[in-house]
Amino acid sequence: MDDLSRRLEALLYIAPRPVPAADLAASCEGDEADVARALGELAEEYAEGRHGLRLREVAGGFTFAVADDCADTVRRHTGLERPEDLSPALLETLSVVAYLEPVTRADVAEVRGVSSEWTLAGLQERGLVEERGRAATPGAPILYATTERLLKLFGLRSRDELPPLEEFALEAGEVEEIRARLLGNAARRRA
């Protein structure tokens, strides 16, 4: 490894959180292109199967993570447990917050069609969603947004890495099916 890669390695060793590439470049007094190249070299050095660590880009920066095949050993040593799986209701609420943030509780309930107080509280408890100020609407409801922990747990560099919501639109056939059923009902009711 060259000198710059080794200095980056040292920085990432000492940093408590993911460090953005620009910050790394500033600390190394190097330009971003060089740092990007050196990070590539570092990633190569820490490629799968070589060390107990991997270099990862997550939550807006670079950081070391435990290699997957070493995770169980680390968990045994630290007593850390795997995060508990999220229920469908929690995932659904999370997707609404992630795509529409910042959102109020009423916004979430409106999309889901059910009160979402409990699921939002559950997401807050898990550190995936946090309060982010209040809306400038009557009643000044609390606004909710996703956290850095969410990016880590879902392996995202940033929120922008989420695929656009449009990709998840129901397919034309599905929409037609629902429409036909609803309109059929309406017509019969009118008759």
């Binding site: 990432l12 940093a15 408590p16 959180r17 993911p18 990862r56 997550v58 950081t63 070391f64 993570a65 435990v66 997957d68 995770a71 680390v74 968990r75 850390l80 795997r82 995060p83 799986d85 999220l86 229920s87 209701a89 995932l91 659904e92 999370l94 997707s95 609404v96 992630a98 795509y99 999309v111 889901r112 069609g113 059910v114 880590k152 747990l153 879902f154 392996g155 995202l156 989420l162 695929p163 919501l165 449009e166 998840f168 639109a169 129901l170 397919e171 599905e174 929409v175 099916e177 629902i178 429409r179 059923r181 609803l182 309109l183 059929g184 009902n185 309406a186 019969r188 009711r189 009118r190």
Partner: protein
């Protein structure tokens, strides 16, 4: 993703119903109502809820997802039913409830909701791939904490001095001032019999202990001796000394 989307229209709630108008699984009932093959007028939603609660109580298990689904569906049924009630009574305000318009709005909502539901399926996939990852983490340096680190303010020695007296075993409390109230008539009887055997006579005042309770027990023992005919009691005046003498030929009990 297709499976997730279709789940929007057919969630699984396992509940068998036996209603006046319908006998079968809850899912089927919902489907039939949606297809207008069963009139929701005829369905007593409270019965469905009661059945579900009973089933929950019987099974002893609580599946949050299934129950949420159930609540969502029942809420939808109730809304449909209450809208129908309203339609009848508020004939003039029917504009708001134009079936076509209502259907269109509902379609819009379902389509929008379906998107997020599909997105949730994507999140589930990412979670499965990434949630177990362990990233480098370290606590925030104490210098950056808004609240000063208590350890920095308090010398270690002070903490030890404060804790030491708490950790020391406290002395056993002195309970000598508490009287031992364990007194037994049987033991007193034995003692009095021995006194009678030894001297043949004694006075109550001479043998009775100081404490009131013990004194009472001794008196009970005395009465017992009298009743069994082992001793004769004599008191010449009220509150006077009681003389106890042994009967040489104890009366036969009974």
């Amino acid at each position: 993703m297709r499976a997730e989307a279709s789940a929007v229209t057919a969630p699984a709630v396992e509940l068998d119903l036996d209603l006046d108008v319908f006998d079968g699984p809850f899912d089927l009932l919902v489907t039939l109502i949606l297809r207008d093959e069963i009139d929701i007028w005829e369905v007593r939603v409270s019965r469905i809820i009661a059945e579900y609660v009973l089933r929950l109580a019987d099974s002893g298990e609580f599946d949050l997802d299934a129950t949420s689904q159930f609540v969502v569906l029942v809420a939808a049924l109730l809304e449909m039913k209450s809208r129908l009630l309203l339609e009848d009574e508020v004939e003039d305000e029917l504009e708001d409830l134009d079936p076509d318009e209502a259907a269109r709005q509902l379609l819009e909502r379902l389509v929008r909701y379906g998107q997020f539901r599909n997105a949730a399926a994507m999140l589930r996939g990412r979670w499965a791939d990434h949630a177990a990852a362990l990233y480098r983490s370290a606590p925030i340096p104490p210098a950056l904490l808004r609240r000063p680190d208590p350890e920095a303010l308090l010398p270690q020695r002070a903490l030890v001095d404060a804790l030491a007296p708490l950790l020391r075993e406290p002395p056993v409390p002195d309970t000598s001032h508490l009287a031992d109230l364990a007194v037994s008539v049987v033991r007193e009887l034995r003692r009095l019999r021995r006194l009678l055997d030894d001297g043949g006579r004694f006075t109550f005042g001479a043998v009775a202990p100081k404490g009131r309770l013990e004194r009472a027990v001794t008196f009970f023992a005395l009465l017992e001796l009298h009743a069994s005919g082992e001793a004769r009691l004599r008191q010449t005046r009220h509150f006077g000394e009681i003389e106890v003498t042994r009967c040489l030929q104890p009366a036969v009990a009974g």
